[in-house]
């Protein structure tokens, strides 16, 4: 187990990281004071190895890459080996081991973006900047890269320019952004000419729309400020937990674990040092509800965390904010600061002696797997974001070996509202086993993509009616690790007992190619597998290759059996939730769209494989040998 640091390891110590604005050319040499600057960065984070991700992000931001020399220096400063530093640096997509441009443009490559004009936007950037995707310009000013879903599916196609988000990219819009950047404008200026003068909240909403299309009773309707916290402050731990348990609240991040039980386990631990972590690493393609909560209900999120802290007896908390949401960071810091000033964070909260709690923000760096709670904790500890072996569970031994409650953004919001309005109020909404409301992020082929707060238990058809998805032929409920359903399943209900979801609903019309969608999502999982265990690292590649066979018309019925067999092996033997759900795009389409597979399957004749093409197999050799086959080319006319 990780050696525990003495006393206090500075979770709260959070110096401000200056962000590159792209105006000044980056300092790219390893000499010329770079060494000193890196030492300075390490020192700013107390030379703490647990802050490795922050150190590397700061170095990346300043120098646009993590050079081998930088790794040596960081290793020396933090008392790690160089290979340990490289292990972290090479794990995260937003950390680079070759120089990136002063302005790094990451274009979202989600399937929804692909269906809404991604190719046009990419072509415009490439032409205007004169570089191809995946490359950096010779003068070091620009890099162009693809990145998986950045949580903007309701306003796709979208891109991140350094930390700034641009949405609804058309060919013209992309072209004018690229041209302005080339002329020396900063990304912030392009969002708003008076960007610096805007309030942090205005900055967060300057280029990203909330698209709240249906406000429900719990989260997006009127919410009295801190009413839940005020009530919780006069309750004992046991009473808070009992209330949350009675409400039936289940985790909103996907797994659906009973929140009250999670808090109870952590509260029962004797360890005086406990943590409350907010999982804002919303990475499931098609999900963007936490983005909206962090923008519009940041106070409620933090209120919920504070209540959780009181319930389990934690003094410190952390919001793990995905790197793609860096544009929300200033807004969240601002909300935290205001709450500290109002006595809602810090010591003696609401003048209750001993009610101490504060929160810092940990930035992620572009790794889907860090949404898994074990991986999230590893990431916060300064390690590669790999899941941990369970048990022990984080509620027993989590961050640095201490009991840690990790809940989703939405879960904390619900908890705060439950403390205000009572368990009965929440429990009466939704269905048995799925109480309350849920945020759904709906995108894809529908007229009204956006956020809908609805009670559990609505049918897929109801939701499609609301979102204007009348020509939907397939709906992906719960993102790629969820279920793909067809028209005959639109009466199924959105709840934990039927179609469970963390909120992502992606609508596909009949014009879309199901196998293309499946292959895309398999590619996503191949890209995001942390590589720790073989079934997930290798198995997903084989699944993707087999789907390619179907798309090329080279599959036969034995391949369907192979897909099922391999999928069940991956599910059974993977170490964490990624591998346990990554075959779902295949399994749910085999189940719900069997005709798609049978239509692309060839039947063998006389024992000969229909998928084997001798002419294709020998054409290369025929060219090299400059002669025909004496077996298979009977005469020259063939």
């Amino acid at each position: 187990m990780e050696a525990l640091p003495e006393a206090h390891h500075g979770l709260m110590n959070d110096p401000k990281i200056p962000s590159g604005n792209g105006l000044t050319p980056p300092d790219r040499g390893s000499n010329g004071g770079a060494d000193g600057a890196i030492v300075e960065i390490c020192t700013r984070f107390g030379n703490d190895k647990h802050r490795m991700l922050d150190i590397l992000l700061a170095v990346q931001d300043r120098f646009r890459w993590i050079s081998p020399e930088a790794m040596e220096t960081i290793a020396e400063q933090t008392g790690q080996s160089r290979i340990q530093v490289e292990g972290v640096a090479s794990f995260y997509h937003f950390l680079s081991q070759e120089p990136k441009g002063a302005i790094t443009i990451r274009i979202c490559d989600d399937i929804v973006d692909r269906y809404t004009g991604l190719a046009d936007a990419v072509a415009a950037f490439e032409e205007e900047l004169g570089i191809a995707m995946g490359t950096t310009s010779a003068d070091g000013r620009f890099s162009l890269d693809y990145t998986p879903c950045i949580g903007m599916c309701d306003q796709a196609p979208a891109a991140m320019v350094n930390g700034v988000i641009f949405t609804r990219l058309t060919k013209q819009k992309a072209r004018s952004i690229a041209a302005a950047l080339r002329e020396g404008a900063s990304p912030e200026e392009l969002i708003s000419p008076q960007f610096e003068a805007l309030s942090p909240y205005e900055r967060a909403t300057a280029s990203v729309d909330n698209n709240i299309l249906h406000a429900g009773e719990v989260l997006l309707g009127p919410v009295p400020q801190d009413a839940g916290l005020e009530k919780a402050a006069v309750l004992r731990s046991e009473q808070i937990i009992a209330t949350v348990e009675a409400s039936g609240l289940r985790g909103c991040g996907g797994a659906g674990f009973t929140s009250g039980a999670k808090w109870r386990f952590a509260a029962a631990e004797a360890d005086p040092q406990k943590y409350v972590f907010c999982n804002a690493d919303e990475g499931e393609p098609g999900t963007f509800k936490d983005r909206v909560l962090l923008t519009e209900r940041a106070d409620l999120v933090i209120e919920g965390m504070t209540i959780a802290a009181r319930a389990i007896g934690a003094k410190e908390g952390l919001i793990y904010l995905r790197g793609e949401y860096a544009y929300l960071r200033d807004h969240l810091e601002d909300v935290l600061a205001k709450r500290r000033a109002r006595g809602l964070l810090g010591s003696d909260i609401l003048d209750k002696p001993g009610f101490d709690f504060d929160i810092r923000i940990q930035m992620g760096a572009g790794a889907y797997i860090c949404g898994e709670e074990g991986a999230l904790i590893s990431s916060c500890e300064g390690l590669p974001g790999e899941p941990k072996t369970r048990p022990p569970f984080p509620v027993n031994r989590g961050y640095l070996g201490h009991p840690t409650v990790v809940n989703n953004v939405e879960t904390f919001c619900h908890a705060a509202r439950i403390l205000d309005q009572g368990a009965q109020w929440f429990q009466s909404m939704g269905t048995e086993g799925s109480n309350g409301t849920k945020l759904f992020s709906i995108s894809g082929d529908c007229r009204n993509p956006g956020i809908y707060e609805l009670p559990y238990g609505m049918s897929v058809r109801d939701v499609l009616t609301l979102a204007g998805g009348s020509d939907a032929a397939a709906v992906l409920v719960g993102g790629p690790s969820g279920t793909m359903v067809g028209r005959d399943s639109f009466e199924r209900l959105l709840s934990f007992d039927d179609l469970a979801t963390a909120g992502a609903i992606v609508v596909f019309s009949g014009e879309r190619n199901i196998l293309e969608i499946v292959e895309y999502y398999l590619g996503f999982f191949v890209h995001e597998s942390c590589g720790y265990c073989t079934p997930c690292r290798v198995g997903n590649v084989f699944l993707q290759k087999t789907i390619q066979k179907f798309r090329e018309g080279n599959a036969d019925s034995s391949d369907v059996a192979y897909l099922r067999d391999l999928a069940s092996t991956i599910i059974e033997t993977s170490r964490c939730g990624l591998g346990m759900t990554s075959p779902n795009p295949i399994l749910s389409t085999l189940e719900n769209f069997p005709l798609v597979y049978s239509a692309t399957t060839k039947e063998n004749e006389g024992g000969m494989k229909a998928t084997f093409d001798i002419q294709a197999a020998i054409s290369g050799a025929r060219t090299i040998a400059k002669r025909r086959s004496y077996i298979f080319d009977k005469d020259f006319t063939q």
Partner: protein, 190 residues
């Protein structure tokens, strides 16, 4: 009954293999005498019969397909045998010859493979500096295929090479119509 029951007919072939699996067939030792009481060997390197004289009950295939002749032979076996058995790792997975399938990040992997093998390889002594191209040589395939990628295979006997005991037991059970796959203990490696 006066007439003896018809003896089963067996055929064998070695495609892109090393003949090790055929050696393993001989490893069944003196039990060959028992086996020969039950079967006639038709087309096979063991009999040097080059063409099927009649339809066979069991075809045994060693090696995968690396050239067009391998494909041709394998297809003939499928046409002429009721049951086709792939024996050894090359027939089942492509085996060692399939290492060339790993040349995949090249614009022309086949040419690269041939040049490495005959012209540019570090330890070559090929005074002609040519890739062999006699008209009698079968054309090489774009990659090495396992037998199951070319024709339907009924049974597989894994191993490199499988033990003589395993081959013998499998054949005896097949002939008796009692083969139901392998117990895990028989085919594990450790």
């Amino acid at each position: 009954m006066s007439e003896e029951p018809r003896k089963a007919r067996i055929a064998t072939a070695s495609l892109a293999g090393c003949f090790g699996c055929h050696m393993a067939i001989l490893d069944i030792d003196e039990r060959l005498i028992d086996l020969m009481k039950l079967v006639d060997v038709d087309r096979s390197p063991l009999t040097d019969i080059k063409r099927f004289t009649r339809r066979c009950d069991i075809g045994i295939i060693e090696g995968g397909c690396c050239n067009e002749e391998n494909v041709h032979v394998l297809q003939e076996f499928r046409r002429n045998c009721d049951v086709l058995v792939a024996i050894g790792q090359c027939a089942i997975m492509g085996g060692l010859p399939a290492m060339r399938n790993a040349i995949m990040h090249s614009d022309d992997p086949l040419r690269e493979c041939l040049e490495e093998a005959y012209i540019t390889g570090a330890y070559l002594r090929n005074t002609t500096h040519n890739v062999p191209n006699d008209p009698a040589l079968p054309l090489i395939l774009d990659k090495v295929y396992s037998c199951a990628e070319v024709v339907e295979i009924d049974h597989q006997i894994p191993g490199c090479a499988p033990e003589g005991d395993v081959i013998y037991d499998t054949l005896i059970k097949l002939l008796a119509g009692k083969f139901r796959g392998f117990e895990r203990e028989t085919i594990r490696f450790d």
